[in-house]
Subunit: 293 residues, 2 copies
């Protein structure tokens, strides 16, 4: 076991676990070195900021870039999530979010599972968010903010926000946010934002309500956000393109702990371009397709 | 003297001084109680947020509301500024900035003196910004951010930003901000944001570069921002309306230290409405008007 009893209890209570310096600076350099080339690609998986060329979100880097493909199979990240769920996990979503210096915009309060339920028909909340800092995170470059314990509320009502952010998001009502923050301790711990050096990692529950403010600082705040879903909980509909919500439900096989520094060969099927099938979508649930077949 | 030698040296070096709990909770209640009535007035001095009825900035409350008129003459605020300048001061600008819960928007990096020089023809930097917190300020409700020592650069190049914020502002270029932050210590103190309970006060130099991010929290962050100008340094042009840039250069007479709790009578000439003259403007400098007369 990688997680202690205290950590399991803490995750249950607060909905997140923070691991400062989970990866070394040397390990992180193998990842950050690969980002500019990824961002330069003119592919649908690079979503840019409103009115700017800066990349807000890059999707599916683990299918394009070898270092990120290794991170996606790293035991320091995947193992604790397998422990929490008690089964194998697959990669549901893999994002690099570039909240860039001076330009990074607001993400309104939201839960991720709301989207996965509404869009992807993911049956339950048995999917974990993982954030890995590619840059140092401080109070000035738009850190993630969590409302501790808000995951216990399950899926809360949300509205589809297509205007405030560059990316459609199911956002939570202000009155409910105020209630959740008050219940979590108000000004005394009702909002938290883990900060630390590049290489730090956060695991957070797919129902934990989170947001982040704009980045007015001169420091980029690029982070990898990925979602590991319990294999039994795989999505049931392919309404969103594959580069956003993955369709390969094979359990992740772990690489050795030193895989970033002594890199073993790894498969990157989209290295030379994304297949046309990754853009195909269907609003029909999988089981209806199967029944009709 | 209210300021120590250390404080004088600190102000010279950093460009600001922070006084947590400068006013008591009881004193602050006399002020906050007067705000809703002020905000409800449909007058030009209430500037509202883009696409919302929330007041972003209220101007000239010291001419409308007795508690704010007393604050404008309070020795705990005015005395240290007189000490720093070695002469009497008058009220150049008086604002209540309501960076409201969930709605408060970004203020880009700027210097205030840039505006006073360009618009008001204020001869030198001998004017002091004062911020007094009407609400608790924490890392989540959009605190003021300063670049320590940036005041020593004097007036820096700025462009007139009419789109990003609700209020026209001379904002500073990103490359210069990055340089100033690096010079001030980079990630180790290159940006600071004083936080504290309601009643705390900041004095900051009119050339100190500052900004504030959006307020996604459920906590209002209302603050009084006022500018005390050395009498000899009064503005030379009335290009902006009087409710924004005042034209009465009489030195402020101090009230007793207990004036908020044992309120003496005080003059509030705009209580029953703003005079038409307060909206009149002229782009001709005062001395040219005088010469022509």
């Amino acid at each position: 076991m990688q997680l202690t009893k205290e950590q399991l209890a803490q995750f249950d209570r607060d909905g997140y676990l923070f691991f400062p310096n989970r990866f070394s600076a040397e390990e992180m350099r193998t990842l950050t070195a690969a980002v500019p080339e990824l961002y330069s690609r003119r592919e649908a998986y690079n979503v840019r900021e409103k009115g700017s060329d800066a990349v807000r979100t890059n999707f599916a880097a683990h299918l394009v870039s070898e270092p990120f493909a290794r991170l996606a199979r790293h035991p320091r990240m995947v193992q604790p999530v397998m422990e929490l769920f008690g089964e194998g996990v697959y990669m549901h979503q893999f994002k690099i979010n570039g909240k860039m210096a001076f330009e990074g915009d607001v993400w309104q309060w939201h839960q991720d599972y709301g989207t996965w339920l509404n869009d992807d028909m993911m049956p339950t909340e048995r999917a974990m968010n993982v954030a890995i800092f590619l840059d140092d995170v401080n109070e000035f470059n738009g850190p993630l903010m969590f409302i501790p314990g808000s995951h216990r509320k399950g899926v809360v009502e949300a509205k589809h926000d297509l205007t405030t952010t560059s990316y459609p998001l199911w956002t939570v009502d202000n009155d409910l946010i105020a209630q959740l923050v008050e219940r979590a301790g108000g000004k005394d711990g009702g909002i938290v934002s883990p900060k630390g050096p590049a290489g730090s990692m956060i695991l957070f529950h797919s129902c934990l309500v989170h947001a982040s403010t704009s980045n007015l600082s001169p420091w980029n705040r690029v982070a990898v956000y990925l979602s590991l879903c319990a294999v039994s909980n795989h999505i049931r509909r392919f309404k969103r393109p594959e580069y956003i919500a993955h369709r390969d439900f094979t359990p992740i096989e772990l690489l050795p702990d030193d895989c970033l520094l002594n890199p073993p060969p790894v498969d990157v099927p989209w290295q030379d371009g994304m297949p046309a099938s990754a853009l195909q979508t269907s609003s029909v649930p999988i089981d209806e397709i199967r029944q009709a077949a």
